[in-house]
Subunit: 266 residues, 2 copies
Amino acid sequence: MGEIVFVGLGLHDDVGISLRGLDEVKSADTVFAELYTSLLPGFSLEKFEKTCGRRVNMMSRADLEEGNAQAIVKAAENHKAVLLVPGDPLIATTHISLRIEAEKHGIRTRIVHGASILSAAIGLSGLHNYKFGKSVTIPFPDETSSETPYSVISQNKKLGLHTLCLLDIKVESGRFLNIHDALNEFLRLEAERKERVITEETLVVGIARAGSDDPTVRAGFIRDMLNFDFGGPPYSLIFPGELHFMEIEALTVLAGAPEGLERASK
Amino acid sequence: MGEIVFVGLGLHDDVGISLRGLDEVKSADTVFAELYTSLLPGFSLEKFEKTCGRRVNMMSRADLEEGNAQAIVKAAENHKAVLLVPGDPLIATTHISLRIEAEKHGIRTRIVHGASILSAAIGLSGLHNYKFGKSVTIPFPDETSSETPYSVISQNKKLGLHTLCLLDIKVESGRFLNIHDALNEFLRLEAERKERVITEETLVVGIARAGSDDPTVRAGFIRDMLNFDFGGPPYSLIFPGELHFMEIEALTVLAGAPEGLERASK
């Protein structure tokens, strides 16, 4: 019986994979990878192939989503196929579909987890994990309105909870929603809706390049964050809800938050 | 200037660390580890020390929490210290405190992320990440009531959201809250409160040994899950909110959920 092993590449580059994941790659009959569901800015295919001693078949979005990933299912029929995926591999819904399809074909599936932006962004911020509500992706403003993220942030804030927002990316075309544009779109929406959920005085934490050697993590009011230079992508934003005093200290010491957060967090 | 690098060990054993993490260990002046904030059932210190070629100083809860981790701060004053931590390292609040203390002493801190149960449990369940609300830890019933988890699940359900629950562990004394006892305590609370939040007909997803080669992932109604054998720890539970049809298919194909979930999820 064949199998597909979904192996997480973790964050940022070609050394985010776990030792267990590398062993799975080395013992696979065929190795596939997709690099479009998240951006790994430092990933070198050449370096990765050298590390694992295997040739890697790159899969495009079209291969995996439109072609229903037949190549992978076929390769796994009586053999072991590995699919390398950025982050933790089954967070992207497209891979859940592939996994279900494979299992229905009698192909065994396994997961080798990797570091995910979901826990990495929380860890980098110094905020407490159990105080995060629902998370959300912020779309490109020229494609979709940010009504949904605005509502999610609003609902979480009412419950005193933090919101993790992932900023949309189009890896294939090299487009990355940046923090400036995401915040501006929220202010535009606020001007329309006037609900006082996201204003220039709202505290946010911006995170860039989580998992790299030089991530940028910066907390501040939107009026100041609009012009802060976060460097290269990918980007996340956290909208804090109610802050514990230890979280205020973390934002101040670790993320350069301004004085006076005790008052701002009320 | 010295530095502390917090390196995530990922899940389950000694091969969950990333290649980047292993490099940090190899180039450290001193290597510390704590293995009490999460359970890594397959971790062998001997094997890990062989892999990295370094001696690892094991830190107890008392070393890190009561002694304020002076040994690590001291080792990092003019050198590079690595602290190995299960999962993604800055999810445990105790390490946020250490990080703040170190930065206040002028010691640089960095994070090498690892796979976390937060994303792993979501990925294993086949449920959609952006539909999870606040998560919660379920305490031992003989120590603390499960009032808080009950309320968190109730609030999330009202919003249609899923709840990830981590079951408490005491690694030092080898005590692990199991799924049977956690569910029983919820039913006891339900009998008191009569809010119809968690009954024998409630759908749950139980997860054991995430990150291992043989995790158990099983979806079913509480009446059936009470006697299901999940094998060894650690354990997580997911209380689903509203289910998308793709999530129902995932629970059915990947987690053995019973027929008729479309009705049960209403």
